[in-house]
Symmetry: C2
Subunit: 439 residues, 2 copies
């Protein structure tokens, strides 16, 4: 059935690109049975033709210049898997100009240039699909755009960076420090040589930019996200959290409240009874809380060659179906009609309310707690519980672990500045937000 043949070009033959080529080969028959569509890779592009790869590219027409490929080849869909922003953006815009649909796994590209790409897609009546850009194999983009589309979404919270989740899980499990586990993760290929993007939270912030746009109907706005990484999380905090009935996870959170939208990426304590607190290792999971469906959760592999390819190919099938049936019935790129994407007030982190876990190192003598609590009192911060460890009784300094009631962040910031100035307090105070994830 020649009429059901779709011609695609793949740009980028790294982990994900190889996965797409392998998956289309391996499951060609199953894909045909499900969709009735034969997806044929007619051309590929990568920087270096002769690099050793995990996929067979013999018989596929090769271009070292992807823009040349777009110009010369008659393809229906281009699959952009090179990552990065600059060349990827040129490729996507040039493809759209040539009325070629786009599938991408590139979160940075969508987060930083998605508004422009969305306009170009609309002008050229083409689709840009990006399921693989957030949470790998987990179909969170389709779920929010197409399954929760009768809902008003209140908040979305996710573990959407496998590297940080692996490190936090492994620290607690093997009783090791952040830097030890990071080194191991790099050796295992779970963390990049330059881990800043992952452990510093930038990667999760790119993904939250996308999730918050399609959840709340706001244009993509990476710069408004508050970002903290996990570099300062110590094993002792993971242990205290556990003792208090919590797990520490690096979360991306978008929440709509009466005053505006909170957008933040940071570590937090989650009650161990929540499913999200039990998502371990490199896995990803996203909870969406909405008015009709209530809280729903989506879990799976957040990265990996075939896992990410699973989402890329599902996007290719969606677009192919529309091409074959000559249909314009596309879901809007960012989940809302373009005219209905509206800027909304994004709250500064200092306006956000949180409960807090605090670990303060103090001189081991009477009266210290009174000095500290006096400052909290002056900033209207009330303390829910105190965990004072006496195991270092002979030491000059002991840790006090405090859990606060809900407070405006500005107050806690101000209080901690004052407390850190006290003579009896040693070093920087560790502060980690607590998220109940109530529905």
């Amino acid at each position: 059935m020649n009429k059901n043949k779709i011609k695609i070009g793949v740009v980028g033959l790294g982990t994900v690109g190889s996965g797409v080529i392998n998956l289309l080969e391996k499951n060609k028959e199953e894909i045909l049975k499900r969709s009735g569509i034969s997806i044929d890779i007619t051309c590929i592009s990568a920087a270096n033709k002769n690099k050793k790869r995990d996929c067979n590219i013999s018989g596929l027409k090769f271009y070292s210049d992807p823009l040349e490929m777009i110009k010369l080849e008659d393809i229906d869909v281009i699959v952009e898997l090179i990552g990065g922003e600059s060349l990827a953006k040129d490729i996507v815009l040039k493809a759209l100009e040539n009325k070629i649909h786009v599938v991408t796994a590139n979160k940075a590209l969508i987060a930083l240039h998605g508004n422009e790409i969305s306009k170009a897609a609309e002008n050229n009546k083409c689709d840009v699909a990006y399921e693989a850009s957030v949470a790998g194999a987990v179909p969170i983009i389709k779920v929010i755009r197409e399954s929760l589309n009768a809902n008003i979404i209140h908040w979305v919270a996710g573990i959407i960076n496998g590297t940080t989740n692996y490190i936090l899980t492994e620290m607690l499990k093997s009783k090791k420090s952040f830097s030890e586990v990071l080194k191991e993760a790099q050796a295992l290929g779970y963390a990049e040589a330059d881990p800043a993007f992952d452990v510093g939270g930038i990667d999760a912030a790119h993904k939250l930019t996308i999730l918050s746009s399609i959840s709340f109907g706001i244009p993509l706005n990476f710069n408004s996200i508050y970002v903290e990484g996990i570099e300062d999380i110590e094993l002792v905090d993971l242990n205290y959290a556990k003792e208090l009935g919590y797990a520490i996870k690096h979360l991306a959170i978008g929440r709509k409240n009466a005053d505006g939208i909170e957008l933040r990426v940071h570590p937090c304590l989650i009650p161990k009874s929540r499913l999200l607190a039990n998502v371990d290792g490199v896995k990803n999971a996203v909870v969406v809380s909405s008015d009709a469906a209530g809280p729903t959760l989506y879990y799976g592999a957040g990265a990996g060659s075939l896992a990410t390819a699973s989402s890329v190919v599902s996007d290719i099938i969606d677009i192919s179906r529309k091409i074959i049936f000559k249909s314009n019935a596309s879901v809007p790129l960012l989940g809302y009609q373009a005219d209905d994407l509206k800027e909304q007030n994004i709250l500064n982190i200092k306006e956000v309310e949180s409960r807090y876990y605090l670990r303060i190192r103090v001189t081991n003598r009477p009266g210290v707690l009174a000095e500290i609590t006096k400052i909290f009192g002056s900033k209207s911060i009330s303390i829910e519980s105190i965990l004072q460890k006496e195991d270092l009784i002979n030491d000059k300094f002991v840790p006090i672990v405090l859990v606060t009631h809900s407070v405006i962040e500005k107050n806690i910031f101000d209080a901690l500045i004052d407390i850190e100035k006290l003579d009896v307090v040693k070093g920087k105070i560790v502060k980690i937000r607590i998220e109940e994830l109530d529905s």
Copy 2:
């Protein structure tokens, strides 16, 4: 924009029907912003017009005969929410005959008559959507049909009946018997007056019929499913399971292996480390394990007025988009091209391999274990661990809890018949399968 108006008729104004009417009213603006579509309810039908309801039906044209409504009204989509099989089937087939698309939440209808309905839909070039038929708000149908469609699915396992999950959760939590908790569940509205459909596993089997068809590409075949309910689960078993590191859950399992497909609904022990073991109360969750994506999990409300309506309305939006864009780009009703749905060998439960939890009440004297293990040995059943409780040391009978290695079910069935005949064994042996849910 009149061209983006879709006219629907709703049949059945119970919990789900009221939810659909309320949700379309409440979130009309959000739905319009996302889809660009105005969904207008032009007519409704129910058995009794004047019954007290949780939704406002004033201004909506009412029919007591839904077939009359189909004949007289000019609607694009009919939403069938009366449940049951007989009238529901007439309504759906009559609607299709009249080229009216169908959205339904009716699992019994799809499970028992879906093959016929699928043909009628194809002949009339209409869609029949049924997202709400399995796992309420959880978009598991769309995920399997549209997001995992580049995968070969190995197995699917789910908690897809909220009533049984609520009862099992509550028994352990409040240390009560099955019958006590069942009565409470009925009082809370979580269980029907006649609970057989839920606690006996029929409802879950209807849903598994649907999940296995769209997962493995087989026609719907309710009769081939092996079904056990939770009526015989005792509090003591929940406690022993916990002690062994497991939770007891009522699971629906479809698994493809070398010899055929296993389709079964029964209680089982799941390692407490699995997310599925931590899904409590009335919630539902489904794990799908497939070759590319790996294991992915989908969790949320399995029932409820607005939660189920969330899925119903998402189906209405999907169909409306196709109507408005005059698109025939439908996903096949059962996830595979009609010609590619093929019967496959469904394994008899006796051919299935499982590990087993067994609780045997025996006379409290030496030599008993030897008699029992001799019989296991003769059927090639090896024992992984034994938990012998001495807390009833002065009693005449004591429980022995055994965990077996993986065995063919026929062997365990045969062995238990022989063991139950022993003089030292008192009453029926409790046997519950163990599912590791490895990926």
